[in-house]
């Protein structure tokens, strides 16, 4: 489905990722784990096209999309939820969703489906996103990504900095989405338990290199924790 193949990428002259290979199979969840500064967010930014690799390739269903702009990748079925509960702060909740639905054939239905996953957003439809709590904004961010009816969803630390009650809700939604089929997920997460519960495949990233990888599941959780505790 998504192949990140031998990608080197960085900011200005410093290289952050040194030839990283990550693969997300069709209808599967792949988790990328690692400490702060390991290059996890950089990997997702390169996958979605916000950063252009110095070398290597990004392929979606076999098509080389390395030089494609982010909006062209979205049109090909990729959606991205960045770190930090990002929304358009001066647009209302409804406008944040409508913006993405504009011009799409099933826009209305896609918004309704996304709101079914996060019903709390229905009561906040006229509130500006900048006035929502962190948890509400993250729900909106995921809903906005889902309105594009993606085939692959890139999630950058979706539960970071959110109150525990909402974290559980977001985790359950991500697990439900993954279980529903028709959607692949590349999940960057520091919460190892959740990531390993969700993922069929995992990658541990350290200082811009994949240092261990394997099949996901709770059996692998211990070895991931050991790898991260070093």
């Amino acid at each position: 489905m998504l192949e990140i193949d031998d990608v080197r990428v960085g900011y200005h002259r410093s290289t952050v990722l040194h030839g990283v290979r990550v693969e997300v199979p069709r209808d599967a969840v792949a988790a990328v784990l690692g400490h702060n500064g390991a290059g996890k967010s950089t990997l997702l930014r390169a996958a979605v096209g916000l950063l252009t690799p110095q070398s290597g390739h990004v392929r979606l269903d076999g098509e080389d999309i390395t030089r494609r702009k982010p909006h062209e990748r979205v049109a090909r079925g990729m959606a991205y939820v960045p770190q930090g509960q990002q929304a358009f702060p001066h647009l209302t909740t409804a406008e944040n969703l409508q913006l993405v639905a504009d011009g799409r054939r099933r826009g209305k239905e896609a918004i309704a489906e996304a709101l079914d996953l996060f019903p709390a957003l229905r009561t906040l439809s006229n509130r500006r996103a900048g006035l929502l709590s962190g948890g509400q904004r993250q729900q909106l961010a995921i809903a906005r990504a889902l309105v594009t009816s993606p085939r692959i969803l890139l999630l950058d630390e979706p539960t970071e900095g959110i109150q525990p009650s909402v974290v559980a809700e977001i985790e359950e939604t991500i697990l439900a989405l993954a279980a529903r089929g028709g959607l692949s997920v590349l999940l960057v997460e520091q919460h190892v338990g959740f990531a390993m519960r969700a993922a069929q495949r995992y990658y541990v990233l350290e200082a811009g290199r994949v240092t261990s990888s394997g099949e996901g599941g709770q059996e692998a959780e211990r070895s991931v924790r050991e790898a991260l505790s070093v």
Partner: protein, 298 residues
Amino acid sequence: MTVILGQMFTGVSIGAVLLLIALGLSLTFGQMNVINMAHGEFIMAGAYTTYVLQKSIAGAGLSLIVALPVAFLVSGALGALLEWLLIRRLYLRPLDTLLVTWGVSLMLQQLARDIFGAPNVQTRAPDVLTGNITVIGGDDPLTFASSRLFILGLAVAAVVALSLTLRLTPLGRRIRAVVQNRDLAEVSGISTGRVDLTAFFIGSGLAGIAGVALTLVGPIGPTMGTNVIIDAFLVIVVGGIGQLKGSVIVAFVLGVLQSVLEYSTTVSVAKVLVLVAIVAFLQWRPQGLYTVRTRSLV
């Protein structure tokens, strides 16, 4: 009483002109943060478009009506070309943008001199806009210039159209989204390059409409845009950058202030006093009249 009402109307009509010249800038500078020093020359292009059309179309009224959409298209196309050729390579480099667009403004002024000559030219206002409308008759009548009323109506129509476009249309949502978070807009599936181009087209097109309006109250010349561009920037900055509501209020307040001060002093002293008032206001409220409150900076 009629004197006060007359001065108020003059102030409102000055405000309407200010608003029209600032409106396009409220999109390109206020929303997109591009300091386009050539914006005044797009106003000039709109004014010369009116002049050319009046030469080719017999009736002054018909040529004015035709000039409004044509000037919008001509100035809009110039703006879109500038964005496509130069400005999109200079986003996040405000000083370079300022210098480059200033250079473009000088080139456009020279181009106008080469085509139309250095002296100012004049258009003929349609008969319906040449007289006065008497509001209060009698010994001390109150009259409003019909051309000023037309400009006021044009300014109100332009503000309503721009406001509705930004609020209610998919294009408006996209423009606001790109302004607020360019990367997030791009990864939400919005072609930010296309949005920039369209926004620049509309903002520059509005400058063209302002140019048409200015032909009713003054001569057309190569430097007419330079003469008004600073006032337009002042309206945007004092109103609060990105705040259309602020620009509208400030344009009319400055217009009325200018008119009242001109009545009690002279034109030059009034201008100085208005500028002093603006400096004092910005010392007190550097962010301008309106800002938007959010819970976070994202």
